[in-house]
Structure formats: C-alpha cells, structure tokens
C-alpha cells in the first residue's frame, strides 16, 4: 500500500493536470484521476516493462478521458465556473505556510482560466499532443506511445496546435517581432 501511495504522490499532479486540460472541469478531472489510479493499481501486473510506467499511466488517463467524452457526447461541453472558489476552499485545508496569498490566488486562477480558454479552442486530437509536448514536456517517442499514433502525425499535430495556440494567445502576450 505504501508503494501505491508513493506512486500516487509522484504522478497524481501530472495526471490530474493532463486530464483537467482535456476535460476542462476540475471536478470531473479529480474523479477521473482517481479512476486512473484505481485502474492502474488493479492492472499493474499487466505492465510488462516497469520503465514504461509513466506512458502507460498516461495512456490509461487518456482512455479515461475519451470514455468520459463518449459518455458526455450528448451533453453540452463541461464548463468550470467555480475555479477561484474551489481554490479558496482547498486553501482552507492547507497549512498556513503553504497557503498562497489572495493576490496569488487571483492571478493563478486568472492565468489558469485563460490557459483553459485557449486549450478549449483546440480539438481534443491537437489538445492532447499539445499538452503532452509543450506543457508536460514529453518526448515524441513517449507521446506516440501514449496516443498510439505515428511520429509524423504527432509532429504535425504538435505544430498545428502550437500555431493555433499562439494565434489565440497573441492578445495576452506581446511578442517581439
């Protein structure tokens, strides 16, 4: 159980971040993250190569995300409206020394919301490779393994996603021309 706890501690944040960026709902992302770890721990004996654990975990996360998409296909897109409030709620549970200041909370929440807005504009196929390559800094080989696509397709989609993302955030950033 201790080993499982360590695995969760080491990967939960990354998996939660990936899922959150894909499903765009904090609550759903937390539930799906929990499912990912439960599934991973139940199926751990199927993992052939321990070194491939991280891509394998991401693949489970990706499958959970697409399952959630299929379930909610008929429903309207998930919207997270309560981000800052939830942050404040979570902050109540944190020890005082780790608690961010109100300004930091607002800035973080604003930045997070803006990033989510940009990511939301990308289709899931581009969003997943963009999040993995740019935000999680995974290698192309790992991304191919996670999404189950060819290197060429992954590279092309990363470039397309980058171009679209850059266009979307031009109003937030001042590029040096």
């Amino acid at each position: 159980m201790e080993a499982y706890r360590q695995i969760h501690e080491g990967y939960a944040r990354r998996i939660l971040s990936f899922i959150y960026k894909m499903v765009d709902s904090r609550e759903d992302a937390e539930d799906l993250t929990q499912n990912v770890f439960l599934r991973a721990f139940h199926e751990l004996k199927r993992l052939q190569d321990a070194e491939r654990f991280e891509p394998w975990l991401y693949r489970i996360a990706r499958n959970e995300v697409y399952q959630a998409f299929r379930k909610k296909r008929s429903e309207p897109a998930l919207q997270e409206q309560e981000g800052p409030e939830r942050e404040s709620e979570n902050a109540l549970f944190d020890p005082a020394d780790r608690r961010p200041t109100p300004q930091e909370l607002v800035l973080n929440a604003e930045l997070g919301a803006t990033i989510q807005n940009v990511l939301r504009s990308l289709p899931p196929k581009l969003r997943e490779v963009f999040v993995l390559a740019v935000i999680h800094e995974k290698s192309y080989a790992e991304i191919c393994e996670i999404v189950g696509r060819s290197l060429l397709s992954v590279k092309t989609d990363i470039f397309r996603a980058r171009r679209r993302a850059r266009k979307s955030i031009e109003k937030y950033l001042e590029f040096q021309k």
């Binding site: 159980m1 499982y4 706890r5 969760h8 501690e9 939960a12 944040r13 939660l16 971040s17 959150y20 937390e30 993250t33 929990q34 770890f37 439960l38 721990f41 139940h42 942050e87 979570n90 549970f93 944190d94 973080n108 929440a109 930045l111 997070g112 803006t114 990033i115 940009v118 390559a133 740019v134 935000i135 800094e137 290698s139 192309y140 080989a141 590279k155 092309t156 990363i158 470039f159 980058r162 171009r163 993302a165 850059r166 955030i169 937030y172 950033l173 590029f175 040096q176 021309k177």
Partner: protein, 166 residues
C-alpha cells in the same frame, strides 16, 4: 535561413529538444548565426513558457489518496456470471433437473412437430397427385378434339381431303 522562418515546423523539433531529429543540430547551428530566427524561436518559446506557468495552480485534492486506498481495500466486485452462479448455487440440483426437463420437453415437442409436418407433407403430395390424375382423366373424356380424330368426324382431316378430291 528563410526556410526556417517561413516553416516554423522545422524548429518544432528544436523547441521540443528532439535531438534524435536530423534537423536539430542544423537548426541549432543556424540559430547561432541568425538573429531573426533567434527572435522567432524566442517568441515560440515564450508561448510554451506561458502555458507551463499555469501548472503551479494545479493541486491534487487533499484526500484523494485516502479515497483511493479505501477503494483498493474493498473486495473486487464479482462479475455478472460469478454473481449469478453464487445466487443459484443453493438450488443447484433443482435448477439442473428443471433445465434437463426443459431440454427433454423441447426435444419431444420438436420431434412430434417434425412427425406431424412429415405426415402433412405426405398427405398433401397424395392429394396433389390425385387431383392431377383426376383432372387429366376428365379432360381426356370431355375434350372435343379427341373426337375429331375418329373416322365418323366430318371435320376430320382425312374426310375433308377426300371430299375436296371429289
């Protein structure tokens, strides 16, 4: 030089530090001597950095591990087949006898139905044959053209030819 600027996909490998790409070193060397491309790459890098900066706001909910641990300690839910078998186990003999009887009854009823169908088929064939034979007999008796072939028929072919010769 121009190609790098107009085709930013060329330096995606550079941005993602994909050293296995053959163009990586080429782009790196080119960037050392081209300020325009350096600026371009800087712009793309700032986009990446902007997206990464949002990562600090992601926090795992405080009691997630406890919930997972609690779920892991629960016995694994049995499959539908196992649950059904467990449910039926106390009446195993009864169910077996009932199932056996059902199969036997099915076989008997099926056999009877087959036999009845075969008999019906035989009867139908016999009736069809009888009707066909009877029809042929009646037609043979009542057909006027059969009479035309006899010698006392004035319309007989041979009679007509004799008359015309005369």
């Amino acid at each position: 030089m121009k190609r790098v600027l107009t085709h930013p996909e060329n330096f995606c490998s550079y941005l993602d530090r994909d050293t296995s790409d053959s163009g990586y070193e080429q782009i790196r060397t080119h960037l050392d001597e081209c300020p325009r491309c350096r600026e371009e790459v800087k712009g793309w890098e700032s986009v990446d950095a902007w997206f990464r900066s949002g990562e600090s706001s992601i926090e795992v909910p405080p009691f997630q591990w406890q919930r997972i641990a609690a779920r892991l300690q629960e016995p694994e839910p049995a499959g539908l087949l196992v649950r059904l078998r467990t449910l039926l186990r106390p009446w195993k003999l009864t169910w077996n006898v009932a199932l056996g009887s059902l199969v036997l009854a099915g076989m008997i009823l099926g056999g009877l139905e087959y036999r009845r169908n075969a008999e019906e088929k035989q009867l139908l064939l016999a009736v069809t044959r009888y009707v066909a034979e009877e029809g042929a007999r009646i037609r043979a008796e009542e057909n006027p053209f059969r009479v035309a072939a006899t010698s006392d028929n004035p319309f007989s072919k041979s009679q007509v030819s004799v008359e015309s010769k005369r």
